[in-house]
Symmetry: C2
Subunit: 135 residues, 2 copies
């Protein structure tokens, strides 16, 4: 199977698949003409990668998960640790975004959005509490 088929099957752009090979996540064999050939195992890996990426795992997390996926003697605790940590980060991001949304939606609500220069949004940004600190 060529790269464009693999791309279609996995939902990953061909460019991304080449990139994954570059950074050592997959190692497709090569045809005599130099074309990449994707067999079942590599296709499985790509699918696994596509799905873990869709769950928001970083590439390095994906690399670790893939290694555990392929290691029949893994401990599920190793997997769980990675996933639980990632879950924590997602929760934190959601909380950050919700705070932004709450502030922003209030400002947008208060703004008349007409031709006049008076704007509660700009005032809100100008007069917001002290410098926000990112975790």
């Amino acid at each position: 199977m060529n790269i464009s088929q693999a791309a279609q099957r996995t939902g990953l752009p061909a460019k991304t698949i080449r990139y994954y090979e570059d950074i050592g996540l997959v190692t497709p064999s090569r045809d005599t003409n130099g074309y990449r050939v994707f067999a079942d195992q590599e296709l499985h890996k790509l699918t696994f990668l596509a799905r873990s990426r869709a769950l928001g795992f970083s590439i390095e997390d994906c690399r670790a998960l893939l290694a555990l996926y392929e290691d029949q003697s893994r401990a599920s605790s190793d997997v769980k640790r990675i996933a639980a940590q990632h879950l924590k980060e997602i929760e934190a991001k959601i909380a950050d975004l919700r705070a932004m949304r709450d502030t922003l939606s209030e400002l947008v609500r208060a703004c008349s959005g007409d031709d006049r220069p008076d704007c509660p949004i700009l005032k809100g940004i100008e007069h917001a509490g002290g410098p926000a600190r990112r975790s």
Copy 2:
């Protein structure tokens, strides 16, 4: 006022302030020794930038908002359009993250996290629905 004072006042790292000058968001004057000098107006701008960045606006949005902020004859509708669009994107991100969280927390919950290799998280990634499509 030197850059480190400006950094302290605005909560922005000095590196970031230099970067903001680089890309033309602020234009501090210079002392005879070449040091940047931040007067009130530039400090106001930096504060405005820090706060709009904290609300998640992109640098280019910040640039536009800053221009409107300084334009006494602006129309509040211009501001509102930018903010409403950004709000929409934040809502979308929240929805994406919540979907990830829901899936992930279920997988984490189901995983015993012990020494055995059996792992519902890996199985969940392996057997998840078709390739996720990002908007």
